[in-house]
Symmetry: C2
Subunit: 184 residues, 2 copies
């Protein structure tokens, strides 16, 4: 069932919510219609489950990417580089469920909006934490406002997913090189 949910994640990522029919879902999950409705209340429930799964996986990937850095500053850099990588190529084209949910559903579906907000705020707090670590270890100046900078970096990462979905190329080293000025 978890593997079926992973397949649902892929479909929702690349087609979004409304363009994904139950037929698309059953084909991707390799389950019959009845089986899907036995496991989930309705289509939205499948989406919410897929959202949660996607969010958990991405959180872990982002955290482990950041962990590759040896200072707070380097951890921010690796986190941004990881985001560029995920926004590009085949995965970039596939897209991000959080961004998709925000754009397609957040306006009208309070349940989705709550999850999108929670995910964004968690990420933002994580980035602010990295910045504070950097200030503690001396790799990031004290005068940098951790919260404001984190929120701007959230905009950057979410924006990269939009640009990546449109298949515009992103040069990781150059883009992140510029973004690191925010920690000056």
């Amino acid at each position: 069932m978890d593997t079926a949910l992973d397949r649902a994640v892929r479909v929702f990522c690349e087609r979004g919510y409304h363009a994904t029919s139950i037929g698309d879902l059953t084909a991707a999950m390799r389950l019959a219609t009845g089986s899907v409705y036995k496991a989930f209340r309705d289509k939205q429930a499948v989406f919410l489950a897929a959202f949660d799964r996607y969010a958990a996986v991405r959180r872990e990937q982002t955290r482990s990417a950041a962990a590759r850095g040896s200072s707070g500053r380097e951890r921010v850099r690796h986190m941004l580089l990881s985001y560029v990588a995920h926004s590009q190529g085949i995965e970039g084209r596939r897209g991000c469920i959080v961004v998709g949910g925000a754009v397609e559903l957040a306006a009208l579906d309070p349940e989705v909006r709550a999850r999108v907000n929670a995910q964004i705020e968690t990420n933002e707090a994580f980035i602010a934490g990295l910045i504070r670590e950097g200030q503690a270890d001396g790799s990031i100046p004290r005068h940098v406002d951790a919260d404001d900078t984190a929120r701007l970096m959230i905009c950057i990462t979410q924006g990269m997913r939009v640009v990546g979905k449109a298949r515009l190329p992103l040069d990781g080293e150059r883009l992140v090189g510029v973004a690191m000025k925010l920690l000056a």
Copy 2:
């Protein structure tokens, strides 16, 4: 007809493409089904026309916001402030057709993808131009890479639309204050 198209823009902005039915469209445009299909080939044609109209209006708004600045640097600042303003409140909740088109349709619809790309690249070139103006008038250092910085700023602006759609508050002065470090 132009006023009807403006109303179509609003609906497509807040509901997206697939969640907008012809019924929603006719109700918003105050036109009967037959009239819509007399003016446009199909639903996608309505969307493309709405997209073009929205893009033209937003381009003008962004340009006039930038024009309020007296130096290249100040023009970039005003342009970013304008983006924050449009990403917030009722308009932020309504959303951006370009971001919506990118996230919802760019993966599968080449025609929409081409327009999204064109709009993003036009904006990016405009921002790069502002930066070069600032370098010419001495308000922005020469060592700033105009193209890389413009691309990052595109990510910032597109990301702000995503965050704004999720109804998270954005403090314009603080956010732009941090972003202006990119011109240091």
